[in-house]
Symmetry: C2
Subunit: 352 residues, 2 copies
DNA sequence: CTGAAAGCGCTTACAG
DNA sequence: CTGAAAGCGCTTACAG
């Protein structure tokens, strides 16, 4: 069907009256090689006239570079959360790649720990580097790749692994949320974590909560901390527990919007009005945070920037540039809506 | 760094004591070539021992096949909507590709109409076929590719173009929504379209609305139809107009959840209780539809199946299989929640 | 500043 | 059932 003799660099060379070497030099803009402007123009012209595209396979084979990066998406328990940010992250990575004329090869993986989940991409030389979203410590391939010196950037971090990453500044984000509550007069602030404490992000968000309290002279009360588990249901349960505490908290920081939604429903089910009877702040700013009732005050994650940051870092690594900062924490932003109560007018009366 | 002499098919051949031809034959399972079981095992063994991966570039160059499909994502005005389904669609495509050992190359495109938005992928022989999401009629490249016989499958349709596609059965979905309302006693049912009528999906959803009315002996009243424009704001405006009509509709079908959210707020702002004073049904079932107040009854789109269907069709086309059904309409599903009012117990009294 | 030639690592007629 | 050899279309020392 679409056979029609392929245009090769030979055709371009002939048309321009030069060698294929020269064609390659000008089309790739090879540094350190000076081509006379006349020759350059002739080549460019010929290429355009013939509608020439260099064959990617031939190019890769000869140059040992693929001009492609792999994006490995691991289906983690945080999936719903990851899904909400995927479009932004994808756009960030895509833009960075495109700017350098790199392609993005997508690989979804059920289970990163399975033997050949994504290393075949490296073995087959399909890609020059990898962005791995949702790294896990039981992922043996990752460390192996790392040891070989293959460029890898994590979206999220793997503590102690030394693998370059870009991640959200979760500690700072949590602190932002809790400080906001403190500044508006709350002193008994409950925490519902986003996930069990073995998850890095969970531990970090708790740390931020703790820091905020301590910096403001409030004591950390273990009894005001409950564990969430990614979904709304866990938020419901956690909030139910918190409301049993005597005296109950006047505000709750739920370190995940999804968990916050469940928590919100639980509070409402007990007849509490949010924010009047209980202030609530979430974390993530998933698209629906602004639609719940009341709209949720939360911490926004920079999805696009995460993708762009990871893309930029990986591309730097691939090019052998000296990447100074291989541990990138991106700042979050407090999005004030109604659930925290500050729009209600008065801030809480200090009760002491 | 990670130089360590590459393992090639020559190494495997030597270790197995056969020629590279034979290695290629068994590793690729070339049909019509019978290799003795002994030889086959020797080769497989050697390959495993050496941890051999065939070089993708060399393979592509020699075979003229890339084993990759391109996924081109166009940033359309429906972006927010597309975003909500991207993860599912991606998973569907990824699963189909993976099953056939194909890779997925992602390309986001600002504007499909720009000259070389994605054809360079074809020119460079990066991919064997394309899935194009959000096709537009002013996309010249598409028709050109099509004419060359390059395998293309659309996600969404381009009427009259003859390009294979998989799409949602929008007409059927809209009918489902409106029939549901009719069956529960409504006779004055307003329509807020999801977008201006030049958009295919918009025209189709309106057609479904009309069909449902006519099949149930209700007359189509132009005065009960207002135009949405993708976002909530347009839904707010449209609902405001509809509520001016005398007598006003007792139910409204908003052919997009986002638009429905705006419409819902507009109705509430006028003091109407949903579903008590006005029933509302949306379309899309975006993730947040179940979280609004009241939870929105809507039409669910099969995101995963759209991706899987497009992947399967494209792979068939690439393999030169006879693809019987190149126009695939996927069924939607009615998701009954609270906004339509049927959970309120009684169905509306017929007023005639 | 430019070119001839080797080589990247496979697949695939062709021959036996 | 298996192998020798050409060829896919580039890049890249090397030479001039």
């Amino acid at each position: 069907m679409h056979a029609q003799r392929r245009v090769t660099s030979k055709d371009v060379a002939e048309r321009a009256g030069v060698s294929r070497t020269t064609v390659s030099f000008v089309l790739n803009n090879v540094p350190g090689v000076r081509i006379s402007e006349g020759t350059r123009q002739k080549v460019l012209h010929a290429a355009r006239e013939l509608n020439y595209y260099p064959n990617a396979a031939a190019r890769s084979l000869a140059s040992r570079k693929t001009r492609r990066i792999g994006l490995v998406l691991c289906q983690s328990p945080e999936r719903i959360f990851v899904d909400a940010f995927l479009p932004g992250v994808l756009r960030g990575i895509g833009d960075m790649a495109q700017a350098q004329e790199f392609g993005v090869l997508l690989q979804s993986v059920e289970n990163v720990a399975q033997p050949d989940a994504y290393t075949h991409l490296v073995g087959e030389k399909q890609i020059d580097g990898i962005i791995l979203s949702g790294p896990r410590s039981d992922d043996g391939q990752l460390l192996a790749l790392r040891k070989e010196g293959f460029p890898v950037v994590l979206l999220g971090q793997l503590e102690g692994s030394g693998v370059p990453f870009v991640d959200v500044d979760s500690v700072g984000g949590a602190r932002l949320a809790v400080e906001h509550l403190i500044e508006h007069g709350h002193e008994r602030i409950g925490l519902i974590t986003n996930a069990p404490p073995q998850y890095t992000a969970s531990a970090q968000r708790e740390r931020g909560y703790r820091q905020a309290l301590e910096e403001h002279g409030l004591t950390y009360d273990r009894g005001l901390v409950c564990c969430g588990d990614f979904n709304e249901e866990s938020g419901w349960r956690a909030m139910s527990e918190l409301l049993e505490v005597v005296p109950p908290p006047t505000a709750v920081f739920a370190a995940s919007d999804l968990v916050a939604f469940g928590a919100m429903e639980a509070a409402k089910a007990r007849g509490l009005k949010i924010p009047h009877d209980l202030a609530l702040v979430g974390f993530d700013d998933v698209p629906l945070a602004r639609y719940v009732d009341p709209p949720l005050t939360t911490i926004r994650l920079p999805a696009y920037e995460l993708g762009a940051g990871a893309g930029r870092m990986l591309l730097g690594l691939i090019k052998g540039e000296e990447v100074k900062d291989t541990q990138l924490f991106l700042e979050t932003e407090l999005v004030v809506r109604d659930s925290c109560g500050i729009h209600e007018g008065a801030t809480l009366e200090r009760s002491v």
